[in-house]
């Protein structure tokens, strides 16, 4: 395993900048996720790291070796494609053995390694099957084994879970993470799914428009987003635009005045109030400054989601579903409810940084 350094990497397609001066270092054994909406440049970055796409400028280094001009087939990265990209005319074992064959590993040694890799992903019994005779989840595991068997310097995952159904996705997520940690794989994961990124990554890179918006641990990004885009992309968020009145007050565009408690230097040009739905508590009745009619109640099983209109603003609140005998359990749309939150919970951030 190697570490990865991306140095001022830029990719220009005609007039548009797909990746704009990206810098990133991935430590050995670390899993870093590139997260962002489609077209943010995350896939382009991954493809440049794999060597499928030449950068317009900038460098890619594995350990301290500059691989920018090395063709893809000499980079020794192990990639799992979104489509899995299994060779349809080869069996699972032949797919896994392909990389070894290209490296001139022959006969018994290759067979042993293929068997070992298939065992790692629990597919030994299906070695002779063609890809189309395998389920989506099994295909995905063949793709994993194929990428890992060559002992790659770098493990690259391009939306590896997006073709699996929701239940399987949650399982495979944990499985891949466990494998990555056990084998100490230096990994770059590309995804647009925030849950996937939050649960799997050591560090997250939120990208937008070819640039990095914020880098940090999942917790940092969730709790301390630097701007409204990151706040919204990393998790659900009530974002109200407006301006800061004074040290402790924020006036929304709708004219609502909210109390905040934030260090003054932190929010020089902050024009957005960001508050996670689960940080708001809700109770029946019109009490305090913040109250209004309930607009909708959505039962989600363990949690319940409430939409509350206060003045001209609508707040989304997510709370643990109350027990049947609690007063909150009997609120109906149009009932008055009041909202409260810890003063330290909201953040004031710029709309864009």
């Amino acid at each position: 395993m190697a570490s990865l350094s991306i140095d001022n990497l830029t990719k220009r397609f005609g007039a548009s900048l797909a990746v704009d001066g990206l810098n990133l270092a991935v430590q050995e054994g670390e899993l870093v996720a590139l997260l962002g909406p489609s077209g943010c440049g995350k896939t382009t970055t991954l493809r440049m790291v794999a060597g499928f796409l030449p950068p317009t400028s900038g460098r890619v280094l594995f350990d301290s070796e500059d691989v920018t001009n090395l063709p893809a087939h000499k980079r020794a990265t192990g990639m799992v494609f979104q489509s899995y990209a299994l060779f349809p005319h080869m069996t699972a074992a032949q797919n896994v053995g392909f990389g070894l064959e290209m490296r001139g590993v022959g006969g018994a040694e290759r067979q042993a390694k293929v068997e070992e890799a298939l065992k790692l992903v629990r597919l030994s019994h299906l070695a002779g099957r063609l890809p189309r005779e395998l389920s989506g989840g099994q295909q995905q595991r063949v793709a994993l084994a194929r990428a890992l068997v060559i002992n790659p310097k770098l493990f690259l995952l391009d939306e590896p879970l997006s073709n699996l159904d929701a239940k399987l996705r949650a399982e495979v997520r944990i499985e891949i993470r466990a494998l990555q940690q056990r084998l100490g794989l230096t990994t770059l994961l590309v995804t647009h799914d925030r849950e996937e990124a939050l649960t799997m990554a050591d560090r997250l890179v939120v990208m937008e428009g070819g640039r990095v918006r914020q880098v940090g641990s999942p917790r940092e990004l969730y709790d301390e987003p630097q701007d409204a885009f990151v706040a919204d992309f990393v998790g659900r968020c009530n974002i109200l635009l407006g301006r800061r009145e004074n040290e402790i007050q924020f006036r929304t565009a709708g004219g609502l005045v909210l109390t905040v408690d934030i260090a003054p230097n932190e929010s020089k040009n902050a024009n957005a109030f960001a508050l996670r739905p689960e940080r708001i508590s809700i109770r029946p009745g019109a009490e305090g400054d913040l109250h209004g009619p309930l607009q909708a109640v959505t039962y989600l099983g363990p949690q319940t989601e409430y939409h509350v209109r206060v003045g001209d603003e609508v707040f989304v609140v997510v709370q643990q579903t109350p027990g049947a005998d609690e007063p909150l359990a009997s609120v109906r749309p149009q009932d008055q409810v009041s909202l409260r939150w810890d003063r330290k919970a909201p953040r004031l951030v710029p709309q864009t940084s």
Binding site: H73, L86, F87, H89
Partner: protein, 297 residues
């Protein structure tokens, strides 16, 4: 080229309420093909069993002696072997020349694609006569090739290019190339690009990717294109006549001669039937061999 799988979308809400009446719609087309193709083919087979006489032209008979003669006579042997040889050679050469172009077309994206496909298609519809005439302008004593070679002093005497098998090979390849390119390109288009990236990612060079991934996966296109092109080569008429000259005989011109110059219907019919049988058996054997090899698909 059958439509067996069309049954499944006929279920569901039945917009057309009289599906049995639909059968009538197919009748005119069937009668046309039966009357103008199948009927004449049967008639032709019957005539091929008759006997030719220079004075009475055709005598009713029921023998296979025309076929026996075609198989034994050195002239017809040469015609048949020339035709088969040319067809096999041209198919092989066309495949080799077409593959890179097919790959290029198949991988082309963007608005250029439509233009390239039209450009590839265009010479197809210009007709064999016109294209043979174009080759003639290149190959004659005063043609472009000789003019250029003389000018740069590669040769001192004009080369004889016209009326050689080489000229016919060029002519045929130019005629059939677009078919091969478009057939293979449509298969290459359906091979995900990811597979090439995956192969590279696993350490395969461009050449290794070609041999191990692209070629095996484009086999259906290669087979379909080769069969199509082989049939077209077997049927060559204008190219053989115009570029091969009067001495160079392939089956289609030989058949024409039997009818027009010799007025020998039985022999012409027998030769035509042999060409049909040869073409069809090669097509069928080719398809079966392919189907067996790729049964898994």
């Amino acid at each position: 080229m059958t439509f067996a799988d069309t049954h499944r979308d006929t279920k569901g809400a039945n917009v057309k309420s009289a599906p049995s009446g639909m059968a009538l719609l197919v009748l005119p087309a069937c009668l046309l093909v039966l009357g103008l193709l199948i009927g004449p083919m049967l008639l032709m087979f019957r005539i091929s069993l008759n006997r030719f006489s220079p004075t009475q032209l055709m005598i009713e008979a029921f023998s296979f002696e025309n076929y026996a003669r075609a198989a034994a006579d050195p002239y017809y042997q040469e015609v048949i072997l020339t035709t088969l040889g040319m067809a096999l050679l041209c198919t092989a050469l066309t495949l080799i020349i077409a593959f890179p172009a097919a790959y290029w077309v198949g991988r082309l994206q963007s608005s250029w694609k439509s233009l390239v496909v039209i450009a590839t298609l265009f010479p197809l519809v210009v007709g064999n006569v016109v294209r043979s005439a174009g080759w003639m302008a290149l190959f004659t004593r005063d043609g472009l090739i000789n003019a250029v070679l003389l000018k740069v002093h590669v040769i001192s005497e004009p080369l004889t290019l016209m009326y050689t098998p080489k000229a016919v090979v060029f002519g045929i390849i130019a005629v059939v190339l677009p078919y091969m390119i478009l057939t293979i390109a449509s298969v290459i288009e359906s091979i995900p690009r990811d597979l090439e990236d995956a192969a590279a990612n696993l350490g395969a060079s461009a050449l290794q990717t070609f041999w191990r991934v692209i070629l095996p996966l484009s086999a259906p296109g290669v087979a379909a294109g080769s069969i199509l092109v082989f049939v077209l080569c077997m049927n060559t008429y204008a190219t053989a006549v115009l570029l091969g000259g009067p001495r160079f005989k392939m089956m289609a011109p030989a058949i024409f001669d039997q009818f027009v110059r010799g007025n020998n219907w039985p022999m012409g019919a027998a030769l035509a039937f042999m060409l049909l049988a040869l073409t069809m058996s090669f097509t069928i054997v080719g398809s079966i061999a392919f189907a067996r090899r790729y049964r898994v698909r």
